[in-house]
């Protein structure tokens, strides 16, 4: 019975979070195959460490942290080769009217320094507060706020430039 409960809770977690964890993993490694491996490995570790999870409500932050640690572990072993040309077609729906903006924004996100991009991903994808991100990244909440501010200021410039270019082209 205990096992069944654990199984069903685990399944609920997988169904609830695998998609957003995949997106987080993708933006960490920018390789869709590695991202899926990271998600698989994350849930394997989550299953193994299940007994240490005291509150299922806190599972989301725990899972994000495992993805982050697994990614760091992977990068210690090897540097992932990224084929930008291949990935670009696969992740952006070029048929949509907002495709151009997504291209621009995606490039801008990729150009952000990692220390700025990472808290932004955790906030926008995961919905975590500055305090929660601070704990996950082991930095102060003030440092998280500074990084988020700088990230948005950088993206704001790019976004403004893109809009300006489109206006001039009309």
């Amino acid at each position: 019975m205990l096992i069944e409960t654990k199984n069903s809770k685990f399944e609920s977690l997988v169904r609830a979070y695998s998609a957003e964890l995949y997106r987080y993993a993708y933006w960490l490694c920018r390789d869709r195959f590695v991202a899926e491996d990271l998600v698989q490995e994350t849930f394997t570790r989550a299953w193994q460490g299940w007994d240490g999870l005291r509150d299922v409500k806190a599972a989301k932050g725990w899972l994000y942290t495992i993805v982050r640690n697994e990614h760091a572990r992977l990068f210690e072993r090897k540097r992932i080769e990224i084929d930008d040309a291949q990935e670009l077609d696969e992740i952006v729906d070029t048929a949509g009217g907002a495709a151009y903006e997504r291209f621009e924004m995606r490039d801008a996100l990729e150009a952000l320094p990692k220390p700025y991009r990472e808290p932004l991903l955790l906030q926008v994808l995961g919905g975590f507060s500055c305090a929660e991100i601070a704990t996950m990244m082991n930095i102060s909440a003030g440092a998280v706020m500074t990084r988020l501010t700088r990230a948005r200021l950088a993206l704001r410039k790019v976004s403004g430039a893109a809009t300006g270019r489109r206006m001039n082209a009309r």
Partner: protein, 232 residues
């Protein structure tokens, strides 16, 4: 709240808005314009970040989990095992000659290797729970093992009982001038000898104490040693 404070909050956390921010927003047209701009910017960031997810991902994760043999909680098992230490083939020597073993040689069930996994995979969630520290219990736990309480300049970020085979041990997270250090106090079992292991970017020292044993985990061998000096 003034415009500077409002903008600082808006750029850092645009989605959460306090009553004070709402009041400022109603009075300041420039900040209201910034708020609208930031909402638009965040919508575009959100749109760009949401890459398509491969079909059937959740099913593949669940299938892999079913295929794998039932996992045993590594840490609980590890704490009951005191492996024969120092038999490794793969190791490197620190500058002073101390032998640092790799996880491959000790195996994932070794207490020190399992403790590193415990710290990396479970500790962040424990820290988020943000429990108060019972200093009396903590002092008693350290004294039982013949260890000193952390000195001035060190903050205790976490202290709580940690279930492990053979009884309840203690899990302590210290913020020291040389980085974050985790102390795991193992009840009853005395490790046969001191062992140092490096795995997943962390270094752990597992050592017998006056009663039971302790494991220290930090980012580097130097930090682990300094923590050990602090406590012994």
């Amino acid at each position: 709240m003034n415009c500077f404070e409002f903008r600082r909050m808006m750029l850092a956390e645009p989605r959460s808005r306090t009553a004070e921010q709402e009041r400022h927003l109603a009075q300041c047209t420039a900040c209201a314009a910034l708020a609208r701009e930031m909402e638009g910017l965040d919508a575009r960031i959100h749109d760009a970040i949401h890459v398509p997810v491969p079909e059937g991902l959740a099913e593949r994760v669940l299938l892999r989990q079913k295929i794998r043999a039932p996992a045993v909680r590594a840490w609980a098992v590890a704490a009951s095992l005191v492996a024969a230490l120092g038999t490794g083939i793969y190791f490197y020597r620190a500058s002073d000659g101390e032998r640092v073993l790799t996880a491959a040689v000790l195996g994932v069930k070794h207490p020190a290797v399992a403790a590193i996994a415990h710290v990396l995979d479970e500790e962040p969630q424990m820290l988020m729970e943000n429990r108060g520290v019972d200093r009396v219990m903590m002092r008693a736990a350290f004294t039982r093992r013949g260890l000193r309480m952390p000195a001035n300049g060190t903050t205790v970020r976490y202290f709580d009982k940690c279930p492990m085979t053979g009884g309840a041990g203690e899990h302590v997270v210290l913020q020291t001038p040389f980085g974050q250090v985790t102390v795991i106090l193992v009840p009853d079992q005395r490790f046969a000898s001191r062992v140092v292991v490096s795995d997943r970017g962390k270094t752990a020292v597992a050592s017998p104490a006056r009663t039971g044993s302790y494991i220290l985990i930090a980012d580097s061998l130097a930090s682990v040693r300094r923590a050990e000096q602090l406590l012994r």
